[in-house]
Amino acid sequence: MTMSGTPDPPAGDAIAVSDAAASPQTPSGSWQLLMGLHPEATKYPARANIEGESIVIFRTRAGFRGVQRSCPHMQATMMNAELVANDTMIRCPLHVFTFRLSDGKGVNCPGFRVRIYEVKEESGALYGRTAN
C-alpha cells in the first residue's frame, strides 16, 4: 500500500533520525573455494567449510547463500532448516526461529542473529565469503 500526501511535521521538537544503523552490511573477506561442492551435482542444503568454520549452503531462487552451521537458539543443525518467505529467510524447524538471509537478523526472535555467507558460482565451482 502507499500512504498519500506529504507528511506533516510531528508535534514537538524536530526529530533527528540517523540512518547509520540502517545501512546495509558490507561483505568482508576474500572469496574462498567451497571444496567438494558443485552447483548442479551437489544436493542442497550442503555442508561446507569456510575460514575453518563449518557452514551450510542453501540454493535459493536468488542463488546460493550460506549460514552458520547451527541455530543460535538451541544449536539445532541448520541442515534441517527450511527456506521461507520466497527464499529470503531461513527457519529452524525446532522452534521456528526465523532469520533473514540478507543480513542474518532474527525476524521473530529479537536479539538473535546468524552469520551469513555470500556464495558465488564461477567456472562450475562455488566460492564463499562472510557477508555480515
Binding site: 507528511p7 510531528p10 540517523s18 547509520a20 538451541m74 522452534h95 521456528v96 521473530n108 536479539g111 538473535f112
Partner: protein, 504 residues
C-alpha cells in the same frame, strides 16, 4: 443458529464424560439460553434444534491451564488455539506482569475463549528470551501495593502468580513470589526445568517442590532438562513425592522444551501423574511439537492414561485448581454451556516430544466442535498452525494496512510519541542483554503521553501496533519498542503520524 442467544439446542446421543459428576454414558445434553439445561434423556422442547452426535464424545469444555495468548510468545488470534481447538477456557501463564496487566486487560477482552491471567512476578511478564529468563535482575521491583490494588479491582482475572524456578540465584525469587501469592491469596505456579543452554550450579527445581504448598502448582512435570522429577535410575525424587502428598498440583505443561518421552514413561510407570494436562502453546511450539491441547492429551493416552482420567485433567481438575468450578469444567445444570465434542480415532499416529523422539500411537482424540456459553464453533485445527497466527515479524518494508484506519487523534499521538522517543537512545544488541529498565522507560513515555492527550489505552496500543504489525499480535509495548531499530521506529511513527487518512 446460536444457542447463546436464548435458543434451545439438544445435543443427542453422544458419549458424555463429565468426571466431576461421575457421568460416563451415552445420553443427551440440552443447552438453553447459553447454559446447561439438562443432562440425560428426555423430551425435546418445542422449537429446539437437535444435533445428532451419535458416535461422538462430549465433555465439559476443555480448560488449558497454561498457554501463551498475550505478549512476546502470544498469538495473533488466541482463539485459534482456544474455541477453534476445543478449548473453552485458558490461562495465560506469565504473559503479563503487573507492569502490563492493564495492556493485557484491554487487548484480550474480546476473545471468544475465556482467558485468565496467570500473572508473572516480573513486571513486564515473560520476555520470550530464554537466555535471560533466569536472570534475577530482570525481576526489577515488585510493587506490592500496585499488585494489591490491581487484585482488588480485577480479582476475577487473576488465577495464579507465576515464576520460573530456573537460573543460578538461589530460591529467593521463588519465596518472594510465594510471598506475593500469599498476600494476594492466589496459588503459586512455578516453571521447573532449566533452559537447555544453561547449566547452573544449584538447581531450583527441588526448591520449587519444597516451597510449594497445597494448591500451589508446578508445571513441566515430564520435562527432560536439568531439574527433572526423576533421578538417574528413573525413580521419582522424594522431594517430588512429598510435595504430591502435601497437595501440590502437578501440571503437564508440554511446551517446546518441556516434555520428554523418556522422563514421561519412567515417571508414569512410577505412578507420578499430572493432575492437570496443559499445552504451554505459544508462537514457537504450535507448529511442532505441541500443536494443540488435543495432541498433548493424546500423549497422555499413549502413556496409558484412560480417556476419563484424561478428560478430568482438562475439565474438573483445572477448574478446581483455578477456582473456576462456579463456571467451568462441569456440565452441572445452570453452568455456562461450555462443551467440547470430540471423537476418538483408531489408526496409526505419531506423537513427538521436545527432543525429537517420536512414539507411535493407535488412538487419538480429535475435537470436532465447541460450544462456548452455548455459541457453537466448528473446530479448525489448521487455524492455529497458520503462519499468520504465530509468525510475528515487524513490517519493515511497508506500512501495515491497519495504519490507514487510525483516527486523527491516534496519528497526533504517534507524532508526539516519535518526538518524545527521539530524545531517548535504545538498542537491543543481543538476546543475552535486554535492558529491562529501558523497556520500562520506553513504556513509561508511551503511557505519560497518552494520558496527557487523553487517548484511551487501547487506542494508543492499537496505534503503535498498526505502525509495525500486519497481524493483530499483542506485545508489551516497552518490549515492542525496544526490539525495533531506533531510526526505523522513529521514521515509521512519523510516517504514519503524517499520512493523510484514507478511506477504510
Amino acid at each position: 443458529m446460536s444457542a447463546g442467544t436464548g435458543s434451545t439446542v439438544v445435543l443427542k446421543g453422544a458419549h458424555v464424560i463429565d468426571p466431576g459428576q461421575g457421568i460416563d454414558t451415552v445420553t443427551d445434553v440440552e443447552i438453553g439460553s447459553g447454559r446447561i439445561a439438562r443432562v440425560g434423556s428426555g423430551s425435546v422442547p418445542a422449537g429446539a434444534e437437535v444435533i445428532d452426535l451419535a458416535g461422538a464424545y462430549l465433555s465439559p469444555g476443555w480448560i488449558d491451564i497454561h498457554v501463551h495468548a498475550y505478549g512476546t510468545l502470544g498469538f495473533a488470534e488466541p482463539d485459534a488455539v482456544g474455541v477453534y481447538q476445543g478449548v473453552t477456557t485458558f490461562v495465560d501463564a506469565g504473559g503479563p506482569g503487573i507492569g502490563v496487566l492493564d495492556q493485557f486487560m484491554e487487548l484480550m477482552s474480546d476473545l471468544k475463549t475465556s482467558l485468565y491471567a496467570g500473572a508473572f512476578i516480573r513486571p513486564m511478564g515473560l520476555l520470550g528470551l530464554n537466555f535471560i529468563e533466569g536472570n534475577v535482575r530482570t525481576l526489577g521491583d515488585v510493587p506490592v501495593t500496585r499488585w494489591i490494588d490491581f487484585a482488588a479491582q480485577h480479582r476475577d482475572m487473576l488465577r495464579y502468580i507465576k515464576c520460573n524456578a530456573i537460573g543460578d540465584y538461589g530460591p529467593g525469587t521463588l519465596k518472594l513470589t510465594k510471598g506475593l501469592a500469599q498476600i494476594l491469596e492466589l496459588p503459586l505456579y512455578m516453571h521447573i526445568g532449566e533452559f537447555q543452554m544453561q547449566n547452573p550450579k544449584h538447581l531450583l527445581a527441588p526448591e520449587a517442590f519444597r516451597i510449594a504448598e497445597a494448591g500451589d502448582m508446578i508445571t513441566h512435570l515430564y520435562h527432560g532438562n536439568l531439574g527433572r522429577v526423576i533421578d538417574g535410575d528413573g525413580k521419582v525424587l522424594p522431594v517430588v513425592r512429598d510435595a504430591e502428598r502435601r497437595g501440590v498440583i502437578l501440571d503437564l505443561g508440554f511446551g517446546g522444551y518441556n516434555f520428554s518421552w523418556d522422563v514421561a514413561e519412567k515417571a508414569f510407570a512410577e505412578g507420578l501423574v499430572p493432575h492437570t494436562i496443559s499445552s504451554d502453546l505459544q508462537q514457537f511450539n504450535v507448529v511442532r511439537p505441541v500443536k494443540s491441547l488435543a495432541n498433548v492429551m493424546n500423549a497422555m493416552i499413549r502413556l496409558g492414561m484412560n480417556l476419563s482420567d484424561v478428560i478430568a485433567r482438562v475439565t474438573t481438575n483445572p477448574a478446581r485448581a483455578l477456582s473456576l468450578t462456579d463456571r467451568a469444567g462441569s456440565l452441572k445444570i445452570g453452568q455456562p454451556a461450555d462443551i467440547t465434542v470430540f471423537r476418538v480415532e483408531s489408526g496409526e499416529f505419531e506423537i513427538g516430544d521436545c527432543h525429537s523422539q517420536v512414539r507411535k500411537a493407535d488412538k487419538q482424540i480429535v475435537p470436532l466442535r465447541t460450544f462456548k456459553r452455548g455459541e457453537p464453533f466448528a473446530v479448525d485445527m489448521a487455524r492455529g498452525q497458520d503462519e499468520s497466527n504465530w509468525f510475528l515479524q515487524i513490517a519493515e518494508d511497508h506500512i501495515p494496512a491497519a495504519a490507514q484506519r487510525l483516527s486523527g487523534r491516534q496519528r497526533e499521538y504517534l507524532g508526539s510519541l516519535a518526538a518524545s522517543l527521539s530524545k531517548v537512545d535504545w538498542e537491543l544488541s543481543s538476546a543475552e542483554r535486554l535492558d529491562i529498565d529501558k523497556a520500562l522507560e520506553l513504556q513509561d513515555i508511551f503511557h505519560k503521553l497518552r494520558v496527557k492527550q487523553g487517548l484511551p489505552l487501547k487506542d494508543a496500543l492499537r496505534a503503535v501496533y498498526a505502525c509495525f504489525l500486519d497481524q493483530a499480535f499483542t506485545m508489551q509495548i516497552g518490549l515492542l519498542l525496544l526490539r525495533l531499530e531506533r531510526p526505523f521506529a522513529l521514521r515509521r511513527l512519523c510516517d504514519v503520524a503524517g499520512a493523510k487518512i484514507m478511506a477504510a
